[in-house]
Symmetry: C2
Subunit: 324 residues, 2 copies
């Protein structure tokens, strides 16, 4: 109901609209309209009201409110169920619980800020207000070994969204960081749950430094991070970005389910900044592998050519691009 009222207000942004007109359009009573308007105001919307001409929307908060995201969302199932939090420990944690409880494929969890955002390899992921912190519940019918493909697929969808919708020259650092230049603007954390030999669910977490001011990051993070706001020199509309991303994510995921991962991986290769670079991959227990990244396999393993010409398949690790 809220998204429908919001839609009417957006459609009439240049004029006032009477509550009984809204009510009759939606087939509800005026009291319900007034209650909904009160909710919008509580959520940060500014409305002008005169008894003679009714409401006019003056200003929207740039928040990731579900009815903002659902308003004109062009997807078939991704983002049709939205769990929204002003603050949450981690959207992935909530999404995993929801998935355990049977939440449908496409359900998303989104928050303005995370208090315990997690990155890969147990790292903390700083998630201040202004960013997009979101998890998507998926239930693909694939063997557990192929779950890493969803990370690469999500990277392609995220990179292409930022490229096509924001006009940014982005690249992907293996396995799952979206970079602008050499600075990270988006990260992905995929967590899968398998029962026996089949995947039960996958939670794809995605964090985008949308309107984050990198100044607020500690200095060691700041030098490697940027935000869309900083790159574009303007505040971007969070809900619109989410809509664009969900639309592209859905079409990429549909293509994935139709067996087109090889084509998606080729897109990943084209977007990759790692392939063709000299890299150091830090593995567990302080082990480091150095070489030139020359390819990636279907399962997402990076192939390095070491100095002696031998090849090494690297399944996971922290990848650094190094100067020649």
């Amino acid at each position: 109901m809220l998204e429908k009222i919001l839609e009417i207000l957006y459609q009439n942004q240049n004029k006032h609209i009477l509550p009984d007109e809204i009510a009759s359009t939606l087939g509800i009573n005026e009291n319900e309209v007034k209650k909904a308007i009160q909710t919008l105001e509580d959520d940060g919307y500014t409305l002008e009201f005169t008894p003679n001409s009714g409401y006019k929307l003056k200003k929207s908060p740039n928040l990731l409110l579900p009815y903002e995201i659902k308003n004109n969302l062009e997807t078939d199932y991704i983002g049709h169920e939205i769990y929204y939090f002003e603050e949450v420990d981690s959207t992935n944690n909530v999404a995993k619980k929801l998935a355990e409880d049977g939440a449908a494929e496409g359900t998303i969890v989104i928050a303005e800020t995370q208090t315990r955002g997690r990155g890969r390899r147990g790292k903390t992921w700083l998630s201040p207000t202004g960013g997009v912190w979101m998890s998507i519940i998926l239930r693909p019918n694939i063997p557990p070994a192929e779950a890493p493909q969803l990370t690469l697929m999500t990277g392609v969808a995220a990179a292409e969204t930022l490229k096509e919708e924001c006009g940014l020259n982005v690249g992907i650092k293996w396995p799952n960081d979206i970079l602008i230049g050499s600075k990270k603007v988006c990260g992905i954390l995929t967590e899968a749950n398998a029962k026996f030999s089949t995947l039960d669910y996958v939670v794809v977490g995605i964090g985008i430094d949308a309107n984050v001011d990198p100044e607020i990051f500690p200095s060691e993070v700041r030098k490697g991070a940027t935000s869309l706001k900083m790159e574009l020199n303007k505040e971007i509309k969070g809900p619109l970005l989410v809509q664009k991303f969900l639309k592209r994510f859905e079409s990429t995921y549909n293509s994935f389910k139709e067996g087109n991962f090889p084509e998606i991986l080729n897109e990943w290769r084209k977007l990759s900044k790692t392939i063709g670079s000299d890299v150091e991959v830090r593995k567990q227990l302080g082990k480091v592998v150095k070489g030139e990244a020359i390819g990636i396999t279907q399962n997402g393993a990076l192939i390095l050519e070491l100095e002696d010409g031998s090849l090494r398949k690297v399944i996971s690790g922290e990848c650094l691009h190094v100067k020649k």
Copy 2:
């Protein structure tokens, strides 16, 4: 002189021009003009002549004549020296002899048809009239082991020419075939000569099925070959194609000499149709390696992931893309 007269005739294609006007523009006498016009007519140009108003160019032959190629050629050194043949055994053979005799970097050998065109691995390369059969002499200051990089570099220059100038959706099949769809339209044969540990010269041979009618090929060639004329449904201007290619080749080669091979290889990766495909590579003595092509090294070796997950570096061979 011929290219200057031709340039004047092209500039005046809508009107007649008197021989003495041509003569005075070029600072030569009228007899020299008439002799040159005779040569043009012998080469297949059709000119209209009236004693009162002079010459007017009616029709050019679509031949790869040096003065056609040099007319408005936008390069600094590639193609400034051109050896032209209506028919030759192999442009690479002639180029190698010229290189032995000290021909300058950038010298090209070009022919309307080759009687003994060669492909890789000793194969015959059919070179009928209508194609562009050309060799370029290079003298790069690189170790012999890096010569294969010039094949990849040439592939990028050729593919980008066909993509940008002809608007064709081309791809590269490792190591050096330019494809449209799954059909070959262009091949490259690089031959290097090293004295001791330094390269003396490299001859880059390139064959483009420009205005070739694939119908004339034997049936086993025909099903895997196409031509620009067939794809574009019109005859293309050979000299213009050569000019566009030489310009792009020169800028790519200059970039190569400045140490930017890694960037060129990344372009190759983007254009590659082999990476991400299942392939069979036929090696000498009938050996076949099957796997998924997942990457390429700086030295042009293809990396295959075999069915058991192991990696194999393939230096050379005949590559077939196979259906999954």
